[in-house]
Symmetry: C2
DNA sequence: CAGGATCCTTTACGATACTG
DNA sequence: CAGTATCGTAAAGGATCCTG
């Protein structure tokens, strides 16, 4: 039960732990990834569009999550001069930078599913 | 407010959304990344070691999170024939495959901090 | 259409004490 | 040492209704 010395190549040091905490806090909750995932395809969608696309979400949660994401500059919110008013949401340029991370997550997750599936088959 | 056609290069389709949900569910909560991050450096640690290394966690949460992670084959638990019994935890080979994803998350998070910091300075 | 207000249920988390 | 049991709080999430 000795601690291996600090010869590690990719230590998850304090700074990195904090960074990951930041990410988790920005994207925490049941819906943020789903919303980002929907918008990151490049779509510009209205509130009702998102209500339909993000399966299962209610208007209260959607509203709150959109505010969080906008506050963190990951998505943009545009109000249009129509009556009644319409609003459109889109991913920001900065939000796009999430893509490599999302890709890694999806890649790992897909592989995980395969593994679980195969083990069950055996 | 038209939906852009499906000409996207990296669409976050249903399968990928599900995969990301899996990842989030495996690694959700306040502590899992911290535990994984501690063990992924290659250390083999006992319960008390982790209680010290994972800052702020209590024995109840630690115990629960360790069970979750073990159930998902991300960490291993070994009981030793000592008195009183000691137990050691380590990352599994499969758990190691999380590293690319964790690296991307840390990278994005570090960059995010920089951005927030710079904006505040201006 | 785009949300806010209200109320309610369900998890997550934490402190403390205790056991083999 | 390595946990479990019990209790309590706080946060997340959901259903429904309402408004400019």
């Amino acid at each position: 039960m000795k601690k291996t010395a600090e010869i590690n190549k990719t230590p998850v040091c304090k700074v990195r732990m904090q960074a990951i905490s930041d990410v988790m806090s920005l994207l925490s909750g049941k819906w943020k990834f789903h919303i980002i995932g929907t918008l990151i395809e490049g779509n510009t969608l209205g509130f009702m569009d998102l209500l339909r696309e993000v399966n299962g979400i209610g208007s209260k949660m959607l509203s709150k999550e959109l505010q969080d994401l906008e506050m963190n500059k990951l998505i943009s919110r545009t109000v249009h001069n129509t009556k009644p008013v319409t609003v459109s949401y889109a991913i920001t340029e900065y939000g796009q930078t999430l893509l490599p991370m999302i890709n890694e997550m999806a890649k790992w997750g897909v592989n995980y599913r395969k593994m679980v599936f195969n083990e069950h088959v055996i």
